[in-house]
Amino acid sequence: MSEVTLTIDGKSVTVPKGTKVVDAAKQVDVDIPVFCYHEKIGPLGCCRMCLVEVEKMPKLMTACTMDVAPDMVVKTVGDKVEKAQKGVLEFTLLNHPLDCPVCDKGGECPLQDNTFKYGPPDTRMEFHRANNVKAAPLSPVITIDRERCIACQRCTAYSERIEQNRELVMLNRGFHNEVNTFNNQPYDNRFSGNVIDICPVGALTNTDFRFKARTWDLTNHDTLCANCGVNCNITFGTRLNELMRIEARPNDAVDDGWICDKGRWGHQFVDSKNRITAARENSVGKTEPTSFPNFPIDAPTEEAAEKVVEVFKRIAEEHGPESIGFIGSPYATNEESFLYQKLFRLLGTNNIDHKPYQETPGLPVNHYDIDAIESSNIVLLIASDPTEELPILDLRIKKAVTRCGTKLLSLNDQTTALDKYAGLTVKYKIGSEASAIDALAEGLARELGESIDFSSDLAQTGIPADEMKSLVEAVRSSMKICVVYNPAALSGDSALRVKRLLSVISKIPTVECGAIPAAPATNAVGAMDMGLLPDFYPGGVPVSDSEKIKELWGEEAPTKAGLTTLEMLAKAKSGELKALWVHRSNPVVDFPGGDQVVEALKNLDLLVVHDMLETETTQLAKIVLPSSGPGFDEGTTTNIGGRIQARRKALDSGVPADWKLISIMLKKLGDETEYSRVAKVLNDIAKRVPGYQEINARLVGKLGINREQVTVENASPGNLEGANGNGKLKLRVASYLFAHDKILDASSKLAHHFKSSSAFLNESDAGSLGVANGDRVRISGNGVELDAEVNVDNRCAAGGIVVPKVSDEQGVNGLVNLDGSPAWVEIKKV
């Protein structure tokens, strides 16, 4: 892009062509006041606050709408500009109420600040200020004060250009302009809260924060949202060790300045009654545990942990290291996961995992950061539903499609909200992703003149041949493609097939290919990188690479592949696994199996759960250890774009930090590494994890840093198997952002989003089942029954059923067999 040089207040500045004068001024520290202009939303030209003088132009110009031009001479000071600024501020304040003393925006209000700096000393307004509605609910979480509104249209432009649902609009005309929704309905969507951050006055405020604290009394902690794998940057405002509010903290590489409503209002769990604050022993399981010592009631957590880890050691010695296992957490920090895998490998086992699905660390192509979506001309979503799973990715994709010329392709078994932005949506039958992905890879290989046969069966997927051809052609002719896939939504070994597909795409000479592994969990990528895996050490080092393992982890490090989560649970059921340690995970609800999981966990000699909130699984544990968790903990996480960022402590929990607790246990087992601070753990990670070599706390800094590529040997998926449902329907458990779980509990500010169970059926299946919209059906499978309301909307192809997980209580994962095999369910009208 060509550059333009201009002069602003006598200072020369060179900026890319197309830059607005207001942004160019920032480069040379010239402050041009604005209300309506927002860098991410684009120019509006409403408020007229940014009037500047431009040489050779007869009238003052708005700096926010004007592109820079070569040799332009801009003056932001002088009588003419200053009179205009005073005039505009006088108009702006004319009917603005003087309720600053009770306004939540006070202290961080652009209207106050601009008036202070540029405004008239007094007002000449002698009439009654216009009265308007004060403090009306715009939604259950946002309050609107129409008297304070200065009609800058930032929020409505946000709704139109960023969130793009156009739910928040300007109604009426002229002085009667007002921000509102259709028919006074609540402004309620996944991204509504951002209008609070961008409102330049106190018109849109956070209902939860109203009158709670003055902004200047808050302690603001720069940290990360812990609610999904995007890891949006947030400011966690606290006062007297209490969470007051959460705001977006712009990071272009991650969130582009926005957060979703779950990020803003979904951290109330820090105040939850269900928080675990002390170690305890439950009276569950066998009354006389074979290998279990007396556990002191009310022991300090550190002491309890030391005792428990010794028992694990003893069990491993008694029954062999295969008899113990660890289910880690895709929500834990890198430091916690790193130390935990170290601990269990020190105990001699590779029975370490964190997920109920198959996936390998690393990628055969570039691991794209999130902002690569904007520079890619094709984004291919595979089994991914960003709107529900990784909401801010949804905004980024919409931005790319509507503003950057990116074309969106979708290969999925269900219709998603982003489909309407897609140039091409290809839908495969639930459970047939293996063939769908392989068919795409084969098609591309054919185009390359390679005869690869993965023996895909397109007929099984239900995808018409010409659709697949179009998809192949779109991918083949892309210049830069970003593949976004959700391994957690792929069945069997399909994630490995995606990697094989990526290898094929990367062979097309004209295509630059990268991918984003988009599992929804907060630190899913970090958990993979940190080696919470039965077959990989941290940094994607396979257990088979004994030489490297010995070099990094010592002579004793186990090199035999361990059990996956589902295998561990199966072995627990059969009695072969004696002791299981679960860190911040709730297999009873989140893993397939349902009652089978309960049965398996009950059959253990010893179940230890280290968690921050009470769950169905903690109820089954013999020992419960308190985990600090987001808000209280500190460390790093690696987001879906491979960016390592710092999560910082905002509140004191009174519970030892997880990394500290694990390091105490490590010491107990004889590990000599000194982890005095969490940064020391990161230093150890840098030493031992390929891809993280250069990382340290300083480099991570405020905005994070991309790790090096974690590479992994070529994946080799197994052979395809056909399947037949015998009249049953194949189940797809979909995500719902506002599921009623432990994070969003009954007291959540977002409880108005909770839903009851729905079953999405294809028209043809609904027809043959004789059910219609609104009917209740009973879904049964794996010995579990679940009632749901029918939605006939062709969300999936015939032969399948989509049931979003709407709550923990719903128990939808119980419909799936513990072995993770395809779930065929029976539907009956109630």
Partner: protein
Amino acid sequence: MTQILFKDINKEGLRTMKVYEELGGYQSLKKAFAQKPEEIVEAVKASGLRGRGGAGFPTGLKWSFLAKDVFPRYLCCNADESEPGTCKDRELLLKNPHLLIEGMILCSYACRIETGYIYMRGEFHDLSFIMDKALDEARAKGYLGKNILGSGFDLDIYTHLGAGAYICGEESALLNSLEGGRGEPRMKPPFPAVEGLYSKPTVINNVETLCVVPYIVNEGAESYAALGTEKSKGTKLVSVSGHVKKPGNYEIELGTPTSELIYNLAGGIQNDNKLKAFIPGGSSVPMLPASKVDTPYDYESLAEAGTMLGSGALIVIDDSINIVEATLRLISFYMHESCGKCTPCREGTRWLHQIVERIMQQKGKLEYITRLEDICDNMSFKTFCPLADACVAPVVSSIKHFRADYEEYFKNIPAGAAS
């Protein structure tokens, strides 16, 4: 006086194809199709025709600004006639719809446009039926549609109705409205000639402007340019209204003295009162006192006198009213019509209204008069579109020429009564 637009305006049946053709209608098409499109643009440039909607921008030049080689392009005829005092386009649409169609065909041919819209204000619903009927007749005759008269040129024209918003007469607001949006003006640049309707190059011309084009093609640019003054060429429709005996639309050669319009064509002042003031170009231009009544009615002379020709609406005010009454009515209009997007306009029009109203209630302060001027200064040229400037025009000019009328309201205030 030479009549171009109003030559046959009162001929019975003029709005039918039959009569229109008998009077020589649509003859220009063959002439035009025999020329290259660029030649028509050049002819319109040479004729000196300027936009008759209000801004007075040279029409041919506007056409030549269209983004090169970008298609499709659109023509929007601005038939949103809403400027208080103006009703000339309505008479053309009502009585001579085919003249507009002919003009639009010529413009479209010259600018390589294949789709035209006539954006009519919503209140012209009945006129849209007349227009639709004329368009149907033109289609039936092959003047619209594919391969018009074997020229290889395709064009269709549709009517589109607004729904009550003065601001939609502003060309970029008109485009937003035509696209199904709120009639808020757009940022410029990009100008409509580059990115207009549906982000494509677009010509927007007033009804009267387009109606002149057939004459230029038929009679030649020179014969049009021979009319009027050196810089203000041709004729102009002027709507004379207010305190005159014979209000009406009159076609004059530009440069005709304003007094001729008022005293001769419009029959002089009602009740033989004295002329007090006149607004020469629609409510958005500054008013002038009676002393300026001999000002030639053309762009330059009126500008020299401190006002504008605008849309050609001459509003005549006699000495029976206080000028502040008329001023308040106009402020009220702009307050009502402000789209509300720009702060100075949204807030300023209302504030001006409050102050003038207070003055008229005899509750004002003398300093309000200078305050009005200062508020006007803070409004003018500070907004997106000229609506705020239009509101300021009557206020500033009324204070300038009729300060005594304002002072009238302070005369009988008992001491200490001012609030």
